[in-house]
């Protein structure tokens, strides 16, 4: 049943669709990008003067220290100025300072024109799309960097760039893909889908949600801008190991600080998801009736909240060593070099699951609705997410089997690492069991979901090789690792992001994408992905280390092949972008529920009404009851009737 959606009550939300209006004065001093720009400049100037004043006061020489001025001015106060300028803090500042808060006029809710996507908007659906467009922009930049250094790697020796630039390209590529694409793209999809799936009108903290989005472009610009720093971009890898990172040129600081902004964004979003999922479920939506995407984001958010502070700490320590001359990781000063790796991986291993679990959720939604069958073993699927969550915190040192850490740590870390294969295996087997005897609709999201299942199995199996300490000793830090992480993060995460974008595209835009182009996109991506990354297993095991611009001539032909395949992979992305843009503009109008799915977001119009549900839905059953006669997930009628109907269903 589909609810009706009258135009929102104009009386109830007086300024509902009114864009902020006013004179030039107002556009200069009212919240918006213009005020954001000048307040960012003002923030930088204040930071610079503060540093100069303090250094002068203490008589430190030289008075001008570029790195310190940049950290305080450009990387702390300028972003805060920007955020204040675009209006992220207006409501809170009014509240804190005791001034009357402006009543929520909902003008920052919903989007009528494309301009509304460039303001602080508190609507989770708008924020979701803001996230996705931003993250795909950075995906493009990171992808172009990858193709650039693949061009360099097509032949041994240096051809196009110097070695600092090469290291910079590799490091910024990885950093953008992780912090500005995979993690936030999942946050974007979940931002759009989770409140709808819960039957909630929005996230629990819409203003916080807007703020966490706007932190992202700041982090992204910092990473990209590091190429402009004297000495070039940060080149110690995305892992930024000390002490190499401590001796790097200025660009390294951009990494240290960029991670703080991206991390703050993740933590805020995760807290928001946790509160939303715990407190804003529709009546009847028990934990065991939540769609698996919601479960996946619940566990992911727990991981983010618990783990992210560790990478923040590790990067602050490196920066303190660099500019304040502390010695957290400087052996001559009593520092402990391996300490960096322990702290870093205590975040960055759980981060692998932060980049994977939301994808598990997406794939569960897609496979179940496209196979027209209930997800196989729903409870075990949810429990295995929790199993991965718990085990995920006990395996970090498997990244350090050859790092020289305490020998006794290796066996326990190997065992926990191998044990993670069990909950992961449960998920894979349950997905393929969901296919069994289904009625399979091979749409584009389904193709990407099946592509994910098979490619992720390869990534998981190479992970088992690496979990075994002796094999890891031979394969660690080689192209085998590069192959493994791309099978997990590209064949895994990116495929699920594609699946999710295609799956919810009609819901987000109200239009249908081109199925033909989507299928071309899938097959081209699938084949060129394998051609690019599968041979990397080989060159790695045979002796090619990772992060090198030059290599043994024996690997020349293989690398040329890999480079050519990577350009095809890059080209396949153009199909996707073209499909998305043209379909959003003039694709056929989508139905409310083109996939005949049962979860709540499909029971409202496409795109959904501004407050999602005109009446709070009453949840009466599981989300995947395909083929069960008379089964309902929820009833979307005025509340009293829904309760009555719910009682009947139970009776």
């Amino acid at each position: 049943m589909t609810a009706t959606h009258p135009e929102p009550d104009v009386q109830q939300y007086p300024a509902h669709f009114e864009p902020p209006h006013g004179s030039t004065w107002k556009s200069f001093f009212g919240p918006g990008l213009v005020r954001g720009a000048w307040m960012a400049v003002a923030g930088f100037v204040i930071g610079m003067l503060l540093v100069l004043a303090l250094r002068w006061w203490w008589g430190w020489e030289p008075l001008w220290n570029t790195e310190v001025v940049l950290v305080v001015g450009a990387m702390v106060l300028a972003p805060i100025g920007f955020l204040a300028g675009i209006g992220s803090f207006d409501y809170w500042l009014h509240y804190i300072s005791g001034r009357p808060t402006q009543p929520e006029d909902h003008s920052g809710h919903g989007a009528r024109t494309w301009k509304d996507y460039f303001r602080v908007n508190t609507d989770h659906k708008v924020i979701g799309i803001q996230y996705l467009v931003t993250t795909f922009t950075f995906f493009t930049i990171g992808g172009l960097m990858a193709m650039f250094f693949r061009a360099e790697l097509a032949q041994p020796g240096l051809q196009f760039v110097d070695s600092q630039t090469f290291n910079g390209l590799v490091s910024v590529h990885a950093t953008l893909m992780i912090f500005l694409f995979i993690i936030p793209a999942f946050a974007g999809l979940a931002n759009f889908a989770v409140p709808l799936m819960l039957g909630a009108p929005d996230m629990a903290f819409p203003r916080l949600n807007a703020l966490s989005f706007w932190l992202l472009p700041i982090a992204g610009l910092m990473f990209v801008a590091s190429f402009l720093a004297p000495g070039g971009a940060f080149g110690a890898g995305w892992t930024g190991y000390a002490p190499l990172a401590e001796g790097q040129p200025l660009g390294q600081t951009f990494f240290n600080m960029g991670v703080q902004w991206a991390g703050a964004s993740s933590i805020m979003t995760a807290l928001n998801f946790l509160v939303t999922i715990i407190t804003m479920r529709a009546p009847g939506m028990t934990f065991w009736r939540m769609p698996l995407l919601v479960w996946a984001n619940f566990t992911t958010s727990l991981l983010v909240v618990l783990a992210t502070p560790f990478i923040a700490g590790s990067q602050f320590f490196v920066m303190f060593d660099r500019i304040m001359h502390t010695s957290f990781f400087v052996p001559e000063g009593g520092g402990y070099v391996l300490g960096y790796q322990h702290i870093f991986w205590f975040y960055s291993h759980p981060a692998v699951y932060i980049m994977m679990l939301p994808g598990f959720g997406i794939v569960s939604e897609v496979i179940s609705s496209m196979s027209r069958k209930p997800i196989f073993g729903y409870r075990l699927m949810a429990l295995s997410l929790l199993g991965i969550l718990v085990l995920g915190f006990s395996v970090w040192a498997h990244h350090m089997f050859v790092a020289g850490m305490a020998d006794w740590l290796r066996v326990p870390m190997m065992i926990t690492t191998l044990l993670i294969a069990i909950p992961t295996g449960i998920k894979v087997f349950s997905w393929i069991a969901t296919l069994w005897r289904g009625r399979i609709h091979l749409t584009t999201p389904m193709l990407f979901a099946l592509g994910f299942v098979t490619m992720f199995v390869i990534g998981g199996l190479s992970g088992i090789y690496l979990g075994s300490v002796p094999i890891d000793i031979a394969a660690s830090d080689t192209y085998f690792i590069v192959a493994h992480i791309h099978y997990v993060l590209f064949g895994g995460s990116v495929f699920t992001i594609y699946a999710g974008v295609y799956y919810w595209f009609p819901k987000m835009t109200g239009r249908m994408y081109s199925e033909t182009l989507g299928k071309w996109h899938f097959w081209l991506t699938f084949l060129s992905f394998n051609a690019t990354f599968f041979p990397m297993h080989y060159v790695g095991l045979r002796g090619m280390p990772r992060r090198v611009f030059d290599y043994d001539e024996a690997f020349g032909n293989m690398n040329l092949f890999i480079s050519i395949a990577s350009f095809v992979l890059g080209a396949s992305f153009v199909l996707f972008v073209y499909n998305m843009i043209t379909s959003w503009q003039r694709g056929p109008v989508a139905e409310a529920n083109p996939w005949r799915a049962r979860t709540l977001e499909w029971q409202v119009s496409s795109p959904p009404p501004i407050f999602n549900f005109d009446e709070i839905p009453q949840v009466v059953g599981g989300p995947y009851e395909y083929g069960v006669p008379g089964a309902r997930h929820a009833i979307l009628t005025p509340t009293k009737e829904a309760q009555k109907e719910a009682e009947e269903v139970h009776a």
Binding site: L244, V337, M414, S430, L435, G467, S468, I471, L541, P545
Partner: protein
Amino acid sequence: MRKGIVQLVAIGVVIGVAVALVAVLFQWLPESASEEFDRIQDIYWFATWMSVVIFAIVGAVVVYSVWKWRVPPDDDAEGPPIHGHTGLEIAWTAVPAILVIALGIVSAVVMSKNGETKDDALQVRAIGQQFAWKFEYPEHGDFESGELVLPVNQQAHFTMEAVDVIHSFWVPNLGQKMDAVPGIETTINVTPDRTGDFAVVCTELCGLGHATMRARARVVTQAEFDEWIEEQRT
């Protein structure tokens, strides 16, 4: 149904054989030149056969299901409401658990064997520095070499140090790898069982010259080794 099972198994066998051919027809591993790497290769094959079987199972079910139960877009029927199967779920929890624990045990055994240092092991110090390796033989006098020379069939016990940043010592054919970390000493054992020339590469990003931080490793007979030591001393 029986016909279906036969078809499914046939698809699984085809995929399994194809993947197995990929695994055996290419020489994925460098030729082993050490006892340690021989043992590592045994586990590698254990993991490979396990992977071939698992990939064949998953691949077969996906391909078979799509082939058998694909419907046209306008089909609006629902599949059978199967919610789960406790027996199957227990099976695919227990069987992988047994497999990975077996792999863990085999790995732990190899690890402890590769970690045993004999009393008569040749002591070698490997020093990583941007961007070159230096090798010292403390039992044989006070000299440095830019080339690693090891006697065949004699365990070498490496102690690693780093002067500036983290480096990682790797000889692909010897199979052993260990980081050289500033401020601490790390160790690893290598017992070459075949003479020949091999490459030493640095596998931990160590700065601008990381890619070119390579050295030569020569495994020679004991007599040749003694001769080389004499030359170095003078």
